[in-house]
């Protein structure tokens, strides 16, 4: 997703001189090298200084530029939180905050590098829009949307590099604010966002072999949430599974359950998320997820248990 973002941005920047990137000295910024080389003045590295990264973006946007703040998700959102809130959200400025390594992507770097609460925190702020694409192809479409929009701030949650594409045969295209089905199904609907949705696709394929028809939808836009799309899911399916690489509070799972309650629909809803706990485990990304109950086994069980 990281490289897709960088390439998409670079292509758009060729024709839109307002596009700038402000990074705070992180190695993933290396994927922006092409852009930096060609437009050195439009690439700003503030160093290990995240508050000025956001503040500068605000000032640049006020003067007509379209800056993207870009760093590891924890440092893009948590460290300069009040700057994101006051400088970008309160003033409604068209700045995209790109958080790379959303969730527990940086699985060997410890809790300081785990963006486990980013979607909840970003969604809590008025004026903020939140997008978390599930694969490089969706990241491209999301990036293009962020580039084109002029209305206000966006938090774009990306993974790392090398995620598989899972949207090649999607039923719907990417439309901001609308969930999209990646595959149709009848018996159960798996909802999620971010790269962890791959678990949903894998589970759906296995379930099909067992005679269970599972739909999978990418709820890439977490704010504004697609209430109509979710309402339709809740009324159509008897079983809805939400998987998210985020703490349980303030995420998609809670929102889906609240909406079902509000609408009076009564499907069985099961939410799989990270626990409300820091992770002190070091290993592969999937090993950390599994330790918190996010694995193919867990998803399969949720889709079929009674």
């Amino acid at each position: 997703m990281r490289n897709t973002f960088a390439n998409t941005f670079y292509e758009a920047a060729k024709t839109d001189p307002r596009l700038c990137v402000v990074v705070a000295d992180i190695s993933p910024a290396g994927s922006m090298e092409l852009f930096r080389k060609e437009y050195p003045k439009r690439f700003v590295n503030t160093g290990v200084a995240e508050q000025i990264m956001i503040g500068m973006c605000a000032g640049m946007a006020m003067r007509g530029l379209r800056p993207f703040a870009y760093t590891i998700a924890t440092f893009a959102l948590f460290r300069p939180f009040e700057f994101v809130r006051d400088d970008l959200c309160y003033q409604g400025l068209p700045v995209t905050v790109v958080g790379v390594g959303g969730g527990v992507t940086y699985s060997t770097l410890g809790g300081t590098h785990h963006a486990m609460e980013d979607v909840a925190i970003a969604s809590a702020m008025p004026n903020m829009r939140v997008i978390a694409p599930c694969d490089p192809a969706e990241a491209k479409a999301a990036t293009q949307w962020c580039i084109a929009q002029e209305q206000g701030p966006v938090y774009l949650r990306l993974g790392k590099a090398g995620e598989p594409n899972i949207t090649a045969n999607a039923v719907h295209p990417f439309v901001f604010g609308r969930l999209r089905f990646l595959r149709d199904g009848r018996d159960v609907c798996i909802l999620g966002y971010g790269s962890i949705l791959k678990l949903g696709m894998d589970a759906a394929a296995l379930l099909e072999e067992r005679g269970v028809s599972a739909a999978v939808a990418s709820v890439h836009t977490l704010k504004p949430l697609d209430r109509d799309g979710l309402a339709q899911v809740l009324s159509q399916f008897e079983r809805v599974i939400v998987i998210e690489e985020m703490v349980p509070r303030g995420g998609l799972g809670e929102a889906v359950k609240a909406l079902a309650c509000e609408l009076g629909t009564r499907p069985r809803i099961k939410c799989l998320s990270l626990k409300d706990d820091f992770i002190h485990l070091y290993g592969k990304h999937e090993e950390l997820l599994a330790a918190h109950g996010l694995s193919l086994k867990h998803v399969l069980a949720s889709c079929t248990d009674d």
Partner: protein
Amino acid sequence: MESASTLTQTTKFDTAAARRRCMRYRRRILDVSQKVTALHIAPAFSCLEMTDVIYHALMRPGSGSERFLDVFLMSKGHGCMSQYAILEDLGVMPTEEIERYCTPAGILGAHPDRGNPGITASTGSLGHGLGIAVGMAYAEMLKGADAVVHVVLSDGELQEGSTWEAVMTAANHRLANLLLFVDMNDFSGLERMSEAHPAVYPVVEKFRAFGWEAVEVNGHNAGAVYEAVTSRARARPFALIGKTVKGRGVSFMEHVPIWHYRSPNKEEYASALRDLAEVRS
């Protein structure tokens, strides 16, 4: 930047007129204080002359719908009454909005809101303004435009780490179109800064060590402020460290922390007006 240089060198600054204006603004601010319980009078009075110089002598006129070519933002948002009074005088801020200050019928609160007449940035939380100003100055440089960005900070904001992130970044990019005015009134909300936080000082030397051009002047001497700014070298970001008095012009408010926030009662108001008649530059 060339045109700024030409303009400022050929314009003579009228110190007496500035003094008369600031007297008027102080009266106006005291008048408004009679309608609300909290007005931040003292911090508005301390940065008044610097803000007056910025608006009346440094900011160049704009074209079309833009009143100014240059930019101003009040980082110490609680000092915004000084800005409001000047904007009203310039015809930018409608008088009826000043009259409706801090009421649901109006648009003005105790901190500036972006989008209100003449207001560029929403401030109030300290340590934000300089970073935004750095982004603005960088954007102007990138666009090849020559707008100068003026920003007023409180000395309390020098305690915010974010301010120093912005100071370093401005110097790294040699943003010569950035003019910083620090209102050194020696008081934060609670107590005297130089006593409680002696390590904040010396300030001029700190800015110079960080790669800025910096000078210290009497921040209530409008002529000296103007002179210091217009004679800057224009090669690096410039900081004017203005030594000021919190509550300047009203003897019982000067150096007294409670006036950071409080509005005077009727008797205090009358006494303040008498005091103002005697104020000198």
